[in-house]
Symmetry: C2
Subunit: 312 residues, 2 copies
């Protein structure tokens, strides 16, 4: 029996639908939608995504925070976040599955020139467009953690040349791996299609800038399914307009929803989706939350904790 | 040393670029671009795609015909085709690779609703669109030969539910197989995304018609990368307009180039490519032609021959 209540702090999400899953796994858990000054002391667990600054700090008996997504930048951005409280992020097969689908779709979209074909169709022009075969196309995955590595299986089945870059060394069969700042430029220079799946940290904010784009081969395409904060959007537009980059697929933006005034909406070399690459599956996430709460009740350490030093 | 000349009967293709590959493999082969009444008797080999009716019939010493593509309907359509002469079709890894890429791209395009996202972008509308995960999506491959089976590896790596239908029984690990007319309707009823890779024969002409579309689940999407003759285009448009079908990707058409008057160009639920799903690779094809010519010179039987009774 869990000791303490859970604060479900996702005001933009359908409370009943999500917490119903949690009730299924932990029927006796006391689930709250809000915690005021009187009730703050009851809260032992909190499910959050982008909590109001100071909110978590004001829960004196908090034992753990669960991030609703794989990225935790919306939580650790709060300077008052109580860093002695463990923060668990969702590590979810359905999330990795969804992200792999999105990555493979976006890679094939640019490689097989579907963007050009859609333009030709609009103009009612019949034109055969050649494309290299996948074994001649080099896909570089920037951010080679759980999600980046999951995407390699279907990309390998399509016979792409694969490489991955991460902050720390990683080894994956059939993938050329690079790590650290020193190897970033070499990695970029051999990426015909660059897929960003990095966590957003002070080190990676703005990493997709003019310098990075210049290091990519001519006509390279960029796919960002990580965070809007990774991209310097003005630099991206310049690199597309200059003809250096061939195209970009963007799922995330510096401001979301993307303001109607953004030139990205109507850019002829941009395809965008509204932060829809990979949704957290409520049932799968709540199963993880329940498992962790039970583990903690049994005196076991929680899993999938964020390392605050590296920021993910 | 080959006995007899080769007629390269692809008037729309760059003769020099293609035959250069053949010269590399068979330097002494006598390659002709045309054969008139005087020289017809020299021709022992012919590379063809859509020969003029009667043309092959008028080559008295022909030993074999090589079809430039995997489909041979453009050749056997000629009623005067000399059916005692073997007809070899290209069976080419690069062709299967290209087709797999096209199939996976098209399946993901509809499954992940990229068509809807592109429409939303055009209207500058920010909307998150959910989609099921691939393990919940049933992909049915209509025509389960070399190309259809090749596409299963990357689709399986994406965890789709796979099935295949063919005229004769086939067995492939992890794929539910159906065969023959009797099992067609059951196969269709469990295909959320239908991929047509059939050969075009009298039995399969017009197979994608109102009856077939009605047998598919509501909101099913159709991908045709086989031949335009498989589709009754008016029936397809009706099934899209009625809301029964969710969308269609078409690479091939009843007339090619597709006439500007075709309503398919501007249909809001159609994506089209100009017969570009999979081009025959000239080098790979010419290597096959050379190998077969050498085999025949050595008294061995040619490979990848068409069975005229079944038409492919």
């Amino acid at each position: 029996m869990p000791s303490g209540a859970l604060l479900f702090d996702l005001p933009d999400y359908p409370h009943e639908r999500w917490t119903a899953h949690l009730r299924k796994f932990l029927p006796t858990l006391d689930i709250r939608a809000t915690a005021d000054a009187q009730t703050a002391a009851d809260i032992a667990y909190c499910v959050a995504w982008k909590p109001a600054p100071g909110k978590l700090h004001n829960l004196p008996n908090l034992k753990i925070v669960f991030s609703m997504g794989a990225g935790v930048d919306g939580i650790v951005a709060d300077p008052t976040y109580p860093r002695h409280i463990p923060l668990a992020r969702v590590v979810d097969d359905t999330l990795a599955q969804a992200m792999s689908e999105y990555v493979v779709l976006s890679v094939l979209y640019w490689h097989r020139r579907l963007h050009d074909f859609i333009g030709l169709q609009r103009d009612k022009k019949w034109r055969q467009l050649p494309a290299p075969r996948a074994p001649q196309v080099r896909v570089g995955i920037l951010g080679f953690g759980v999600l980046g590595q999951a995407a390699t299986a279907p990309l390998r089945a399509l016979n792409y040349q694969l490489s991955g870059w991460s902050a720390t060394p990683k080894h994956v069969d059939g993938v050329k791996t690079f790590h650290g700042t020193a190897q970033l430029e070499v990695f970029l220079a051999q990426s015909d299609i660059l897929v960003c799946l990095l966590p957003l940290t002070p080190d990676t904010r703005g990493i997709l800038d003019a310098k990075t784009f210049a290091a990519l081969p001519k006509d390279a395409c960029v796919i960002n399914a990580a965070r809007g904060g990774h991209v310097v959007e003005d630099d991206l537009i310049k690199a597309l307009d200059s003809g250096h980059l061939g195209g970009a697929t963007l799922d995330v933006f510096s401001a979301e929803p993307l303001p109607a005034t953004s030139p990205l909406w109507s850019h002829p070399k941009v395809v965008m989706t509204a932060h829809s690459a990979a949704f957290t599956d409520p049932e799968s996430f709540m199963r993880q939350v329940a498992t962790t709460i039970r583990r903690m009740d049994d005196g076991l350490p929680p899993e999938n904790l964020v390392d605050f030093a590296r920021g993910y």
